[in-house]
Symmetry: C2
């Protein structure tokens, strides 16, 4: 059987913040959903762009190139090598895409463990 | 200045069907929005998966592995090499991701010209 992944339903399955869950794959990239609130650590990905698409709530992507205010339906791809951190005053739900195995923090030592949901 | 792409606003900028518009790029892939209604031709992409995320309306992805009924917030990635065609009884708005230059029909002879919006 083939079935779509409904992202809102996937997001009902967990409550923790800063813990991306894999819902699909595309050409060796992991498509994930994540919930977060507050400010993440500044970091960069030297070898990959970083895909953010806001599903619910508001966030700000602070980057060394400027800040990006984002709400539902907003998409922004942080170019590889660019320092950035996501910040949200209230809980936000986001679709992320990163290459399989890429540490979300840019550093394996501090990265979240990504699991399928 | 850095700015997010709001997909709903991008979709207000055109009316034609089956004509994907590029809104961003991720690691050499084009992130697109498209409107369509009716049935597309059966095709496959031998070298790439095909990413579909429904933004508005309903569609059915008919594939040789089964049919996938999709509504807003539903994500499905057609594996490479799998025959498929999207079908929509009424107009649907979809986010697509394909490698830069990939013909949306699987064949350069019948592919739509993708332009930035």
């Amino acid at each position: 059987m083939v079935e779509a992944a409904n992202l809102a339903k996937k997001l009902e399955l967990f409550t923790e913040h800063w813990s991306p869950k894999i819902v699909s794959e595309y050409n060796g990239n992991e498509v994930m959903v994540v919930k977060f609130q507050g400010a993440y650590a500044w970091h960069k990905h030297d070898e990959t762009d970083d895909f953010f698409y806001v599903l619910k709530g508001k966030m700000r992507l602070e980057t060394e190139q400027g800040n990006v205010d984002m709400g539902p339906g907003d998409l922004y791809v942080v170019p590889k090598g660019v320092m950035h951190r996501p910040v949200a005053d209230e809980e936000v739900h986001v679709m992320l895409i990163e290459p399989r195995g890429e540490p979300n923090s840019g550093d394996p030592a501090t990265a979240a463990t990504k699991v399928w949901i």
